[in-house]
Amino acid sequence: MTLTAAFFAIIRRDLLLAFRRRAEMANPLFFFVLIVTLFPLAVGAQPQLLQTMAPGVIWVSALLAALLSLDSLFRSDFEDGSLEQMLLSPHSLSVLVLGKIIAHWLVTGLPLLLVAPLLALFLGLPEQAMGTLWLTLILATPLLSLIGAIGVALTVGLRRGGMILSLLVLPLYVPVLIFASNAVDRAASGLPVGAQLNILLAMLLAALVLVPLPTSAALKMSVN
């Protein structure tokens, strides 16, 4: 079979798996909703305050939800030996890994796109910022899956990799957080956001190209 066939087969299989394990897959989404709702409870329900905090709250929650969902990216493949079979495939591991990351985003990132604007509305984010929120989610949630993949690949062989995973991945998420929440913030104040979106797009393209390389190297190390 050709490389493209293998690439799409991986995406199809992971989507099918996610569908069969849908209860498990929904957890990060619930987690996301839960964190966002915790903020008004913790800082008080002053509309003014919530409105200023909304972009940051939504993006921090998205980050944490992504972090929670990362573990499912390679864990089951690692445990049932599918990862070994992927390594033995004559096709380029990087491309197969990219397929897995894309499937992961479709399952965990895409739902955020639907839920986040709703929550933003609850937090009182001005409507003029909704479009930007959407755009940042489209551009930046794949980045979360991509960058996270490196961290998971490095820690998947560890019994208690969860803590280390967050230590590895969260610092690398910082630029995504800054540009994405800042873009939403500026949009809420009616300022232009072109620069932020351009940078997010640049980071996304660069990550799509570069991330599979260290990820597959790290997976090879983890299978060892």
């Binding site: 380029s92 009616g190 620069a195 351009n198 640049a202 980071m203 190209v209």
Partner: protein, 144 residues
């Protein structure tokens, strides 16, 4: 072997295209204003947002600092050598806050067009010299 090599070339080509596009977008972004920071000219010409927090940077105009009462309230004017903006702040000012010194203030514009600062941060410059040298520099500047 041949098709594998061709495939590898295609992949490398795609990677280069991706990186090239990424660089283009990044360059594009640097041409636009990224700063979450406004100059006094921006404020005076109405480019700065009303009713939301932002940072305002500028030089404290000499002789503009006044303390209207015995309290902590300080009024001064900031300038970027073009337009001036009045600033109000109540709190303890940092050591480096002096007239003629660059500062950054964080706060909001009120209806009067006065920038009400919540935080004032003094910025020191990158010059290090003994006081005598600074004096002589100043003198030579004045002579010119």
């Amino acid at each position: 072997m041949k098709p594998a090599r061709k495939q590898r070339l295609i992949l490398i080509g795609l990677m280069l295209v991706g990186l090239g596009l990424a660089a283009t977008f990044a360059l594009q972004a640097f041409n636009e204003n990224l700063m979450y920071f406004f100059s006094t000219t921006d404020v005076a010409t109405g480019k700065a947002p009303k009713n939301s927090l932002f940072r305002l940077g500028g030089m404290v105009i000499k002789g503009s600092v006044e303390r209207p009462d015995a309290g902590l309230l300080v009024k001064f004017k900031l300038s970027d050598f073009n337009k001036e903006v009045p600033v109000e702040y109540s709190g303890i000012l940092p050591d480096l806050f002096r007239e003629g010194q660059g500062i950054v203030a964080k706060g909001k514009l009120d209806e009067r067009g006065v920038f009400v600062a919540e935080e004032v941060l003094a910025k020191h410059d990158e010059n290090y010299m003994p006081p005598e040298v600074a004096d002589s520099l100043k003198k030579s500047a004045e002579q010119k």
